[in-house]
């Protein structure tokens, strides 16, 4: 069954996607309107693997943990960093240090001040806590200097202009230092968050639901019109529409195939651009994929348009690179890179010495992409490649084991919800230790190209061409290949106003609920 909720959860299992929206301008804490009954919004989604950004293990968690945390920066609807907790920032001339200026009078949800020292303590915990999953991303930071209570400088290992993007995500979410005075305290954060986000904890039942209430100290509290947000695990996708119809939920993710039915039922549907890109992780370390011609043939053998039609009712667009159209990293010259060409696939296979029916591979797919796997199987058969499908149930750790840890999967139907920095994403997809680069190969050319991007200011005219160069090398050289980008699809009750559009992250600024 196609299941966007689970889909995004799993896609994200590999990645840390982070896109924060910036509401704009001045800080100050709004006041909660207490005149009438509290405004409650019931959201059916998934719960984070941990409410601690330091130990959260899937990228999809950004949607839920950023309910209770804020970062120094946020990404705007195009994916560019803009002010959040920090009102401005600047690099030194060589690009090896970045200084952030915090908004005045920031407070955590418990009322303790959020100052430069708190920012340093929070980021350093991410670098040093033994079980931190952010160590890699934060390794670019060499040391942190508190200049004054509102000014903090990050000294970098080398010039790196991606830091404002990087910190817009989970990596940069600021945790209240009062919550991690001791290691024992820190161990409680995964179930009892303390941050400076739009909401704060009221109650939380692991794997079941969380009740969050508005945080009056949130820097952009005036844009939050929801007094209580009830987050629960969404029901089976076949009953999502019924759940919203009956008021069991107000907002939920919707399978693309159910859009018409949801509209017919009188519900509202939002189709929101996202950074989600589906891809096939090909492990060229496993025979017969050790043959480069075979891998190339597979890239031409897949009819992505058909996959998109079956997987997402045709909503989205075919891409041959890990970014959606319109995003800064999307290189237009790759628009038809591996366009469907079964004849070419056949001749490549013949060159590689395989007669039709001789090549046999295993496809690994999560149960919600079983339909896509069945279609890929038929398409491969058309070019003479036999395959069997290994289905991994959704939520199963088998996926992590087989695809990322032991890397025993030859051809895995995977995907990414994107990352806040394009350089970070390229590292994940094509880098030598990249999770989705199951072959674990990367050419010196690619690494050099990536380094150049990192050292180029984002507003430099060279930035985009250099980024495209790195994308082009990655797409051409890596055995893994992209399939299609898809938008996020949400269904909501008519009493809930439209959700703001932000690439790959739910934000609730400006959302109102009427007639509760």
């Amino acid at each position: 069954m196609p299941n966007i909720r689970q889909a995004s959860a799993i896609l994200a299992a590999s990645l840390g996607a982070t896109l924060l929206l910036a509401g704009c301008a001045a800080g100050g804490s709004g006041t909660v309107a207490q005149s009438s009954a509290p405004t409650v919004l019931k959201w059916g989604f998934s719960l984070p693997t941990s409410w601690d950004p330091v130990t959260s293990s899937t990228g999809n968690d950004i949607n839920t943990i950023s309910l209770v945390y804020s970062s120094l920066t946020q990404l705007d609807s195009k994916g560019n960093a803009e002010p959040a907790l920090a009102e401005k920032w600047s690099y030194n001339t060589p690009g090896t240090a970045i200084t952030f200026t915090l908004r005045p009078n920031l407070k955590f949800s418990d009322g303790t001040p959020l100052d430069a020292a708190a920012v340093r303590a929070s980021l350093e915990r991410g670098k040093t806590q033994p079980n931190s999953l952010l160590t890699d991303q934060l390794s670019t930071i060499k040391s942190i200097t508190v200049v004054d209570p509102r000014t903090v400088t990050l000294n970098l290992q080398q010039a790196d202009y991606q830091v404002p993007d990087l910190l817009a995500g989970k990596t940069g979410e600021i945790v209240n230092p009062a919550a991690f005075k001791t290691a024992a305290d820190a161990a409680k954060i995964p179930t009892d968050a303390s941050g400076a986000g739009p909401f704060k904890f009221k109650s939380f039942v692991p794997e079941s639901n969380a009740v969050l209430v508005k945080n009056p100290y949130y820097w952009d509290a005036k844009d939050i019109h929801i007094d209580e947000l009830d987050l629960s695990v969404a029901p089976d996708p076949s009953t999502i529409i019924a759940a919203v119809q009956t008021g069991a939920l107000d907002v939920a993710s919707l399978p693309a195939t159910s859009i018409a039915a949801a509209k017919a039922a009188g519900l509202k549907v939002d189709v929101v651009d996202s950074l989600t890109v589906s891809q096939v992780d090909v492990n060229s370390g496993l025979a017969p994929l050790t043959n480069a011609k075979v891998v190339e043939a597979l890239k031409y053998a897949v009819n992505r348009q058909q996959l998109l039609k079956v997987a997402n009712a045709g909503i989205g667009s075919v891409v041959y690179q890990p970014f959606p159209k319109g995003y800064v990293g999307f290189d237009p010259s790759l628009a038809t890179k591996f366009a469907y060409d079964p004849a070419k696939a056949k001749s490549l296979l013949a060159d590689a010495g395989f007669k039709p029916g001789q090549l046999k591979i295993t496809l690994t797919a999560l149960s919600y992409t079983q339909n896509v796997a069945e279609l890929v199987q038929a398409q491969l058969k058309d070019v003479g490649v036999e395959s069997t499908i290994q289905v991994v149930p959704v939520g199963s750790s088998t996926w992590q084991q087989a695809v990322y840890l032991n890397r025993t999967a030859q051809f895995a139907l995977d995907g990414t919800v994107g990352r806040e920095s394009p350089v970070q994403l390229l590292g994940v997809v094509y880098g030598p230790t990249g999770l989705m680069n199951t072959s674990r190969t990367a050419s010196p050319d690619f690494l050099a190209a990536l380094d150049k991007v990192r050292q180029t200011p984002l507003d430099s005219p060279d930035y985009q061409p250099l980024l495209w160069k790195a994308v082009e090398i990655g797409v051409s050289e890596d055995p893994s290949f992209s399939l299609y980008s898809t938008p996020r699809i949400d269904v909501r009750s008519p009493k809930v106003s439209a959700l703001p559009h932000f690439l790959s992250q739910f934000r609730w600024e400006g959302v109102t609920v009427s007639g509760n």
Partner: protein, 293 residues
């Protein structure tokens, strides 16, 4: 017993339905108008038409062909479950009556322990932990329904072993093999047959419940349970589509239950047999009542 059962209207109807299902299971793949795996992306989720009597599925495959082609695997997996359950239930059940008190005590406790396991959760947990494929799933469900067969066999064997005429036969020097063949098989076999019939229906429901939850599925091979769960993903586009596999499952399960009832009634004509039959009925329902609800 079988011929008597077939003379009752219930038995006759059930037998006819089962016969049709079995014929479909054997010849289904031949009868299918299309290749059940042949996809047609231009005609996804098409409504029933002259070309596709039951429409097409999410990959444009002919639903009728898939139902027909899915019959062997669906029924075979149910039969496999029942065969495993029978093997692991009937033999220890017989032995528990004849092998002495230690074996009796141990086998009873093992059976009791198996019965206390929360059925479906245990089946799912085991299958998921041991690697998600249909093989382990069948084995686990087979083990879990074995207590039903154990009970039925044991009760029938116990009744036979303690019957005065059997004790008399033993006294006059009948060999254990003779006793086993003549009396035991006569008593035990009908009871086991009744259980097997209802267990077949139960197994079909269990297997489809597991595949519904995504446990033990092996695409693209069609199974009724798998098709049903796939169709439910498209409930709002084609709300009638789940009806076809659902009706097939319900009718087949109903036929097996009906056959079990008819066999039970037929085995209970003579007084002693009736009480044994009633007894076995009560116990026979144990495994059908263990259908995950």
């Amino acid at each position: 017993m079988f011929s008597r059962a077939l003379r009752s209207p219930l038995g006759a109807v059930s037998a006819v339905v089962i016969a049709i299902v079995v014929v479909v299971a054997i010849f289904g793949p031949v009868l299918a108008p299309y290749d059940p795996l042949k996809q047609d992306v231009a005609h996804l989720l098409a409504a029933p038409s002259a070309a596709h009597w039951l429409g097409t599925d999410y990959l444009g495959r002919d639903v009728l062909s898939r139902l027909l082609a899915g019959a062997p695997l669906s029924l075979l997996s149910a039969a496999e479950v029942v065969a495993i359950g029978m093997l692991l239930g009937v033999i220890p059940g017989l032995l528990s009556v004849y092998l002495g008190r230690v074996f009796e005590w141990v086998s009873l406790r093992v059976v009791d322990a198996l019965i206390t396991l929360p059925f479906l959760v245990f089946a799912i947990a085991t299958t998921a932990l041991l690697g998600n494929s249909l093989g382990p799933a069948m084995l686990v469900v087979g083990v879990l329904i074995a207590p039903g067969f154990f009970r039925v066999t044991r009760t029938a064997a116990l009744a036979a072993a303690t019957a005065p005429y059997v004790e008399a036969a033993q006294l006059v020097g009948a060999s254990p093999w003779w006793v086993l063949r003549t009396h035991l098989l006569g008593k035990v076999a009908p009871a086991v047959a009744v259980s097997a019939a209802s267990a077949l229906g139960a197994a079909l429901v269990i297997v489809s419940s597991l595949t519904f939850l995504g446990i033990g599925v092996q695409p693209p091979a069609p199974t009724w349970g798998g098709m049903l769960s796939d169709d439910l993903g498209y409930l709002f586009q084609q709300s009638y589509e789940p009806v076809f596999p659902a009706v097939l499952i319900i009718v087949t399960v109903g036929a097996f239950n009906g056959l079990a009832d008819a066999l039970r009634d037929a085995s209970g004509t003579e007084a002693r047999a009736r009480s044994a039959g009633r007894r076995s009925r009560i116990i026979a329902t144990k495994e059908s009542s263990r259908v995950p609800a």
